[in-house]
C-alpha cells in the first residue's frame, strides 16, 4: 500500500517521537528520494526521526503492527541505494540519535548512538589519545550506523581493517520492536554465535542498530606520505604488488588513474599532478616515528624499481594534504565534469589489478563511456567511476551494460561485486555472478532469522521472488 499513512498511526508516531519529527508532507518527502546513488528516486510514505532506542522500538512496533516496511537511514551517503526508500515504506532516520554515550579510555571503547558521524567520534576521542580507525572517504558525514550496516572500509583499512574489526557490541531493534543486545566487550567467553559479526554488513535488512560499541586505537604518532608518479597504470600496479610483497605494512595505498588525474587537474581542485602521468600512487605509513623513514625509503625504492618517474614525499601536514588532494578531490572533480556519476565498487586479487584495469578501459572504449579509476589499491578494492548524463536514456543503458561487464570481469579473476559499498538495490542484479541459487536462498533464510516478516529494507541485497519488481529498474526512474 502506498499513499499517506493511516491518520491514527501517524498520530501515534507523532506522540512517540514528537510532532515535528514525523514528516508526511509529500513535498518534503521528496528530499529523501535518493541516497548517495542518485540514479534511483523513490519517495517514502513518511520519515520518522526517533531520538532513542526506546523511541525506535516503539516506532518499529507501531509500523510492524500496521505491516509497513521500514527503511533505516543514516546520512544517506550510501552508494548502492541501501537507504533508498521503498514506495510502501517509511524511513526511520537516525539523524537525531547523534550522541556519544560514553568513552571508556581505560578499555579503549566507546558507546555511541547510530547517528554519530564517523569523524566526530575520532574528534571526541582524540583528547584521550585515541581514535576510531575505519575512515571511509565519506567519514566527515557518514554515520556509524551506516558504517555498521555497510561494513564500511576506507583508505587506512589496508592496515587497520574494516568496520567489523572494531564493532564489539550492538543494541538492535528487531522487527517486532524487541530490543536485543548483541555481543559486548567482556563477553568473549560466552561462546555464543557471533551475531555481531553477522549483523555488521546487513545493509539495514536485519534491524536497526540503536547503540554501537566500538574499539578505539591509540593515536599514531607519525605519518609519512609518498606520491609516486608513473607513466603507466601497469607500472603502478606492479609497484603496489612489490610494496606489499616486500613485507611492508603501509597504512594506505591508493591509485589514481590517468582519467582521474586529468579530471582533477582540469578542475578547480587541481592538485599539481603531472597531467601526462599514467597513474599516481599515494602511499602512506603511520605509527611510531622511529622507523617510518626507513619504511618510506623502502617503498620509494619499490616505486623507482617499477619505473616511477618521480616520487614525492611529504614531511609536513600541509604537504601531506597536497599529496592527498588529487585522491580526495577526485570525486568532486568528477562531479563537475559530468552531470552524473556512478561510483562502482568491486574487489579483485591485488596481483590482477593491472590486467583488470586494462580491460576496464577497453570496456569503457567499447561502450563509448568515460571511466575513471581511483581506489584502494592495497586491498584490490576498485572504484571505477562511470560518468554519464542521466537525462540521456541511451547512455544510461550503456552505463548499465558496462557495469555488468566490469562486475563479470572482477568475478572472473577471483574477485567479487562489492568491496565496501554493499549490494543495496544497485548490485542485486549481480548477485547471481557470485552466488548460486543455493547460496542466495541461504542469504534469504538468514535474513528471515532476524526479520521473519521481511519488514526491513525489503527488496535490497537479495531479491526475493515476491520482492522482485518492488523497486523500479534504474532506467525507469531515470528517464
Amino acid at each position: 500500500m502506498t499513499g499517506p499513512l493511516p491518520p491514527r498511526l501517524e498520530r501515534e508516531l507523532r506522540s512517540v517521537v514528537g510532532a515535528d519529527h514525523v514528516i508526511t508532507d509529500p513535498d518534503r518527502l521528496m528530499v529523501y528520494e535518493s541516497d548517495g546513488l542518485t540514479a534511483y528516486r523513490v519517495a517514502p510514505r513518511a520519515v520518522v526521526l526517533p531520538a532513542s532506542t526506546e523511541e525506535v522500538s516503539e516506532v518499529v512496533r507501531l509500523l510492524h503492527g500496521a505491516d509497513i516496511e521500514i527503511v533505516p537511514r543514516g546520512a544517506g551517503t550510501g552508494l548502492s541505494g541501501g537507504a533508498l526508500p521503498t514506495p510502501d515504506g517509511v524511513i526511520v532516520g537516525t539523524a537525531r540519535m547523534n550522541k556519544i554515550l560514553s568513552i571508556d579510555a581505560a578499555d579503549r571503547l566507546a558507546l555511541v548512538q547510530p547517528g554519530v558521524v564517523n569523524a566526530r567520534l575520532t574528534e571526541a576521542t582524540r583528547p584521550h589519545g585515541l581514535y576510531y580507525a575505519p575512515d571511509p572517504s565519506s567519514q566527515s558525514t557518514c554515520t556509524l550506523g551506516g558504517n555498521v550496516a555497510e561494513n564500511s572500509g576506507g583508505p587506512h583499512c589496508l592496515k587497520y581493517g574494516v568496520t567489523s574489526r572494531y564493532v564489539t557490541g550492538l543494541t538492535v531493534v528487531m522487527a517486532g520492536g524487541e530490543v536485543v543486545r548483541l555481543g559486548g566487550a567482556g563477553h568473549e567467553a560466552s561462546g555464543e554465535l557471533d551475531l555481531v559479526g553477522l549483523f555488521v554488513g546487513s545493509e539495514g535488512c536485519f534491524g536497526i542498530a540503536t547503540e554501537i560499541e566500538v574499539r578505539l586505537l591509540p593515536l599514531t604518532e607519525g605519518v609519512r606520505t609518498l606520491l609516486g608518479i608513473f607513466d603507466t597504470m601497469e607500472a603502478a600496479g606492479h609497484a603496489v604488488t612489490s610494496i606489499i610483497g616486500s613485507g611492508l605494512m603501509p597504512a594506505a595505498v591508493e591509485i589514481i588513474d590517468k582519467a582521474t588525474i586529468e579530471a582533477v587537474e582540469a578542475s578547480i581542485f587541481a592538485a599539481g599532478y603531472p597531467t601526462d602521468a599514467g597513474a599516481a600512487l599515494v602511499i602512506e605509513f603511520d605509527g611510531t616515528e622511529a622507523g617510518l623513514d626507513a619504511d618510506a625509503d623502502r617503498a620509494e625504492r619499490c616505486c623507482l624499481r617499477e619505473g616511477a618517474r618521480e616520487v614525492r614525499r611529504a614531511s609536513s601536514e600541509t604537504e601531506r594534504a597536497a599529496l592527498w588532494k588529487g585522491r580526495k578531490k577526485a570525486f568532486g572533480a568528477m562531479g563537475r565534469i559530468a552531470p552524473d556519476l556512478l561510483v562502482q565498487d568491486a574487489t579483485v586479487p591485488r596481483t590482477r589489478l593491472p590486467e583488470v584495469l586494462a580491460e576496464i578501459s577497453r570496456i569503457g572504449e567499447r561502450y563509448g563511456l568515460k571511466i575513471a579509476n581511483v581506489f584502494h589499491a592495497g586491498d584490490g578494492n576498485l572504484h571505477p567511476n562511470l560518468l554519464f548524463d542521466r537525462t540521456d536514456a541511451e547512455e544510461l543503458a550503456r552505463v548499465e551494460k558496462a557495469s555488468h561487464e566490469i562486475m563479470s570481469l572482477c568475478v572472473a579473476v577471483g574477485g567479487t561485486i562489492t568491496g565496501e559499498h554493499g549490494v543495496g538495490v544497485d548490485k542485486r542484479g549481480y548477485m547471481g555472478l557470485v552466488h548460486d541459487e543455493v547460496e542466495l536462498d541461504m542469504l534469504r533464510r538468514v535474513r528471515r532469522v532476524f526479520d521473519p516478516g521481511g519488514l526491513f529494507n525489503p527488496g535490497k541485497v537479495v531479491p526475493d521472488a515476491v520482492d522482485a519488481g518492488a523497486l523500479p529498474e534504474v532506467s525507469e526512474v531515470a528517464s
Binding site: 520519515v47 565519506s138 580526495k328 570525486f331 568532486g332
Partner: protein
C-alpha cells in the same frame, strides 16, 4: 524566472548528492530533517527547477526560509557547489511565488533607503544611549508576545562601545589620550605606502558601530594604507540578495560599484563580513548583465576584509593590551570568503592578547540578519549554543569580525545577564595603537 531557473540548473549540476555538507549545517544538526540540510535544500531547488515542486509550496518556502545563509556548506563540498549564489536565486524564486512576511519586507525597505534608515538607526542609538534598551531587556519576560522586542533591544544594547580598561579589569582612566574620531598620525618611521583604500561603511556599522569604522580607518592608516572617503556609497545589498530581492540588490550594488570606481581606490575594505562577502560576489550578481559584468568583476577583485589588509601588512605591533579574547569566526568571513587566519593574526599582533578560538567557532551564531526575529525558536537554540561556547572560553572579551555577529552574540550574552563586551578585531588593534601613541 526562466533566467533564474537556468542559472540554478547550471549551478545545481555539480551537486552529486554526496551529503558531505550535512554535518556542517546548523539547522540540520539541530532538526535532523534532511529538508533542513544543504543537500535537501538543493534537492528542493532542483525539484522546483525540474517543475516537480511548486515554489509556493510550504516545503520550499519553509526550508529555504529556514536556511541561515551561513554558507558553512560551501567549503566542505567536494564538488564546489556555489550554495550562496543558489540560495539567493532560490530566495528570489520563493519571494516571487509568495511575498515574504511584513517583518522582512519592512526591514528591507528600511535598509534600502538611506532616508528611512538613518532616522531608524538614530532612534536606536538614542534608545541605547539612554540605557532604555538595557533596562527593557531585563524587564521584558523572555517568553510571550514581546520576546522578539526583547531580543531586538538586547541586540541594540550589545552595540554599546566597550571599555578596554574595564575589560582588562582596570579602572577606566578619566581622560582618553586621543579623541576616538582622530585620524592616525603615523610617527617617525612612516610605513610604506600599501595602496589606496576606500572603506565600505555599511549601514549597520555606520548607524550603530561607527567606532568600528573609525578604528578601521585608523588602523589601516597606521599600517601604511592611504584611506580615502568614498562618497555616495550605500548599503551593500546583502540583505536584499539574501532575501531574494535580487533587483534591489543589483541597484544598490551598481551604485556602490560606481562610487568606488569614482574614488579610484586599489582596495575596498569591508569590516562587516556580510558586506565583504556580498561585494566579493558582485560579479555573480551581474554575471548575466553584459553591460555591468566586467565592472562588477573588477570591483569584486578589489574587495578585501579589513583584517586581510592589516594582516598582509603585518600588522605592525602596538602597545600592550592585556586581554584574553574569545574569538568566533563569522560565517561570511570564514565560509563565504574563506578568510580564517587574518582576524586572528590581527589580534595576535597585539602584545598581551591571548586568543582563544571558541569551540565550534566555525558554526553560525544564528545571527544571520534578522534570523532571531523571524525564527525565534531555532535562532535561540543556535544562538544559545554559541553563547555557551563563548562563555566556556571564559575570556575577558568576545570578539568576531562582523557587526551582525557582534550584535547577535552580544544580545545572547545580555539576555543571559552577562555584560561581556563583544568587539571587532580592529578595535583591539586600535586600542593597542592608541596606547602606543600612534595617533598623536
Amino acid at each position: 524566472m526562466a533566467q533564474a531557473y537556468e542559472a540554478q540548473r547550471e549551478r545545481l549540476l555539480p551537486c552529486v548528492h554526496c551529503g558531505f555538507c550535512l554535518p556542517a549545517c546548523p539547522t540540520y544538526n539541530r532538526l535532523g530533517d534532511e529538508a533542513d540540510s544543504p543537500r535537501g535544500r538543493l534537492h528542493l531547488m532542483g525539484a522546483v527547477v525540474e517543475g516537480r515542486l511548486d515554489p509556493a509550496s510550504d516545503a520550499f518556502q519553509t526550508h529555504i526560509d529556514r536556511c541561515l545563509g551561513c554558507r558553512a556548506c560551501e567549503p566542505v563540498c567536494p564538488s564546489g557547489v556555489e550554495y550562496g549564489a543558489l540560495l539567493e536565486l532560490a530566495r528570489a524564486t520563493a519571494t516571487e511565488a509568495r511575498p515574504p512576511g511584513v517583518l522582512t519586507r519592512g526591514l528591507l525597505a528600511l535598509m534600502g533607503r538611506p532616508l528611512l534608515r538613518k532616522p531608524f538607526l538614530l532612534s536606536g542609538r538614542i534608545l541605547r544611549a539612554t540605557g532604555l534598551a538595557a533596562l527593557a531587556t531585563r524587564v521584558i519576560p523572555s517568553r510571550g508576545p514581546l520576546a522578539s522586542v526583547r531580543l531586538a533591544l538586547a541586540m541594540l544594547d550589545a552595540t554599546r562601545p566597550w571599555s578596554p580598561e574595564a575589560a582588562e579589569g582596570r579602572r577606566t582612566s578619566e581622560s582618553r589620550a586621543v579623541p576616538r574620531r582622530d585620524r592616525a598620525l603615523s610617527p617617525g618611521d612612516a610605513p610604506p605606502n600599501r595602496g589606496r583604500v576606500g572603506v565600505m561603511l555599511g549601514c549597520v556599522q555606520a548607524g550603530l558601530y561607527s567606532r568600528v569604522n573609525e578604528a578601521t580607518v585608523r588602523t589601516l592608516e597606521a599600517n601604511g594604507y592611504e584611506v580615502v572617503t568614498v562618497a555616495g556609497q550605500d548599503c551593500c545589498g546583502a540583505l536584499h540578495a539574501h532575501a531574494g530581492r535580487l533587483d534591489g540588490a543589483r541597484a544598490l550594488a551598481e551604485n556602490n560599484i560606481v562610487a568606488f570606481e569614482r574614488a579610484g581606490v586599489d582596495f575596498i575594505a569591508a569590516n562587516a563580513a556580510g558586506c565583504g562577502a556580498a561585494m566579493k560576489d558582485y560579479d555573480v550578481l551581474f554575471e548575466a548583465d553584459a553591460a555591468m559584468s566586467a565592472r562588477a568583476a573588477a570591483s569584486s577583485e578589489r574587495v578585501r576584509d579589513v583584517t586581510e589588509l592589516l594582516a598582509s601588512a603585518g600588522p605592525r605591533p602596538g602597545a600592550e593590551v592585556r586581554l584574553s579574547v574569545a574569538y568566533d569566526h563569522p560565517c561570511h568571513l570564514l565560509h563565504a570568503q574563506g578568510v580564517s587566519g587574518p582576524p586572528i593574526s590581527v589580534l595576535e599582533a597585539v602584545p598581551g592578547v591571548e586568543v582563544r578560538v571558541i569551540v565550534d567557532a566555525d558554526e553560525c551564531c544564528g545571527g544571520a540578519g534578522i534570523y532571531g526575529l523571524t525564527h525565534p525558536d531555532l535562532g535561540a537554540r543556535i544562538g544559545g549554543d554559541k553563547v555557551a561556547a563563548v562563555r566556556a572560553a571564559s575570556a575577558q572579551v568576545a570578539c568576531t569580525a562582523n557587526p551582525g555577529c557582534m550584535m547577535q552574540i552580544g544580545a545572547g550574552l545580555r539576555l543571559e545577564g552577562s555584560s561581556q563586551a563583544v568587539v571587532h578585531p580592529v578595535e583591539v588593534l586600535d586600542e593597542s595603537y592608541r596606547r602606543a601613541g600612534f595617533y598623536h
